[in-house]
């Protein structure tokens, strides 16, 4: 039996998108979402894929997440892709790193860059100090490799954007956020 998608796609995806948008607008702040149980994916990662991907967005799936390939194709039609052609990539940090292969956009079109969804075990605490747009003073987030995210922020306005998913919670780290040691 294939895992289900949204029960009520227009309303469910609207609520998930709102959480995803608030998260991208407020880096480091975690938001709760609800969605179906999908083998290989956290609920938060599953609903992000359901809400954002379609046949025009190639998706790279890491090892554990690859179990959800059939489910993703069935519900969204998103094609599989190598890292270098992916608009979205999902997996544990060990599956996704290093960041070099992913498209970071072009100087004329910095928006043509990949969004990485990193499955993680915690969204609170961490030793990274985050500042920038969307953050009033400073925020914190446990990052798997602080230096890699600091390098990514250095590419601004090019660069990758990240979601971190943990169970049914998600937080984001756009390229505009400066990452330092605290």
């Amino acid at each position: 039996m294939r895992a289900p998608g949204f029960a009520d796609p227009p309303r469910d995806s609207a609520r998930v998108f709102r959480a995803a948008m608030e998260a991208m607008a407020r880096p480091g702040t975690a938001y709760a979402v609800t969605g179906p149980e999908v083998p290989g994916l956290s609920p938060a990662a599953a609903v992000l894929l359901l809400t954002l991907t379609d046949p025009s967005t190639p998706v790279y799936l890491g090892r554990a997440a690859a179990r959800a390939r059939d489910w993703l194709t069935f519900h969204t039609g998103a094609p599989a892709a190598e890292k270098s052609a992916a608009m979205f990539a999902l997996g544990a940090w060990e599956d996704l790193a290093p960041l070099d292969p992913y498209p970071v956009g072009t100087p004329d079109y910095p928006d043509r860059s990949a969004t990485l969804i990193v499955e993680t075990s915690a969204l609170r605490g961490g030793d990274a100090r985050l500042t920038g747009p969307g953050i009033e003073t400073e925020a914190r987030l446990p990052l798997p490799d602080r230096a890699a995210f600091a390098r990514n922020a250095g590419l601004y306005p090019l660069g990758l954007d990240f979601y971190f998913t943990c169970g049914s919670a998600l937080a984001a780290l756009p390229r505009s956020t400066a990452v330092e040691a605290r």
């Binding site: 309303r11 948008m21 079109y109 928006d111 009033e136």
Partner: protein, 276 residues
């Protein structure tokens, strides 16, 4: 309402718009191209704003729509009833009670808060468009951070008028990187662009979406010896007496008598209700 998808747009279109909004938030002030759809209203009536609102709307939202600050103009009333019909959402005229505010050319006087989203209707998203008509060229200018032309334009204002005469759609530098057009809001509103609320900009005809996350640095362009000034008409509102709000000048009779009135009708009404 049956016969329409929730919030009018089909789901693939909303996905496309939502992806553009996320990239817009990740690169504040950068104009993200999107495949704007035909909407059941003419270009220039807020098709960009309506598409952005449709993409962010949830069933739990309470929507407010203003046109030049007013809740009771044709444009504002139509868009409010449009979303009541196709999304079944609650609507309001109170700034304080709204979760999403779609606006044409004003930022409400009442300070916005963290839970709110302000959606702007944008006619011309490109701040450099009247200086350089070619899209390929303006795109390159943004890529190279080549904004000298904009400073020349503001300087010519000073040379000609003794002060920067640009009074609306006043260009600003976002996050120290992208010069952007805040849509034709009066420059009085520019300081309010640094806000706890999320601000989204939709240009339907020009097919661009851009965004300001909360607390993003927005510096109105100026010179050390001619600093930016948020100007407004000198006077007080004839209805509520406010001197701190943005005022519209209204011709009151056939003899040319003029008076001022708050452009923000909700702000004005609340003040009058409070005084009564």
């Amino acid at each position: 309402m049956s016969g329409y998808n929730f919030a009018y747009l089909d789901e693939p279109t909303k996905k496309m718009i939502r992806r553009a909004i996320l990239k817009g938030l990740a690169i504040p002030g950068y104009q993200v191209p999107f495949a704007s759809r035909e909407m059941p209203m003419p270009y220039g009536w807020g098709t960009g704003g309506v598409q952005v609102t449709a993409a962010v709307l949830t069933p739990e939202d309470r929507l407010k729509v203003i046109d030049q600050g007013a809740d009771d103009t044709t444009n504002a009333v139509s868009i409010r009833s449009f979303f009541r019909k196709v999304a079944g959402v609650a609507t309001t005229t109170r700034t304080r009670e709204a979760t999403i505010i779609q606006t044409r050319h004003r930022i409400p006087e009442t300070p916005l808060t963290e839970g709110q989203i302000l959606v702007y209707q944008v006619p011309i998203p490109e701040p450099l468009r009247f200086l350089e008509p070619r899209e390929t060229e303006t795109r390159r200018m943004h890529a190279l951070e080549e904004y000298g032309l904009m400073h020349v334009k503001l300087y010519e204002d000073i040379a000609r008028h003794g002060a920067i005469a640009t009074s609306y759609a006043y260009p600003a530098l976002v996050n120290g990187r992208h010069v952007f057009d805040p849509s034709p809001i009066p420059r009085f509103d520019n300081p309010k662009l640094e806000s706890p609320a999320i601000q989204l900009f939709g240009a339907g005809r020009e097919q661009r979406i851009y965004a300001l996350p909360p607390y993003t640095r927005v510096q109105s362009l100026d010179f050390d010896d001619h600093p930016f000034e948020a100007s407004k008409a000198e006077g007080a509102c004839a209805l509520c007496g406010a001197t701190e709000s943005y005022l519209d000048e209204i011709v009151a009779d056939d003899r040319g008598t003029r008076r001022f009135q708050c452009s923000d009708t909700d702000f004005c009404a609340e003040r009058r209700a409070g005084a009564a």
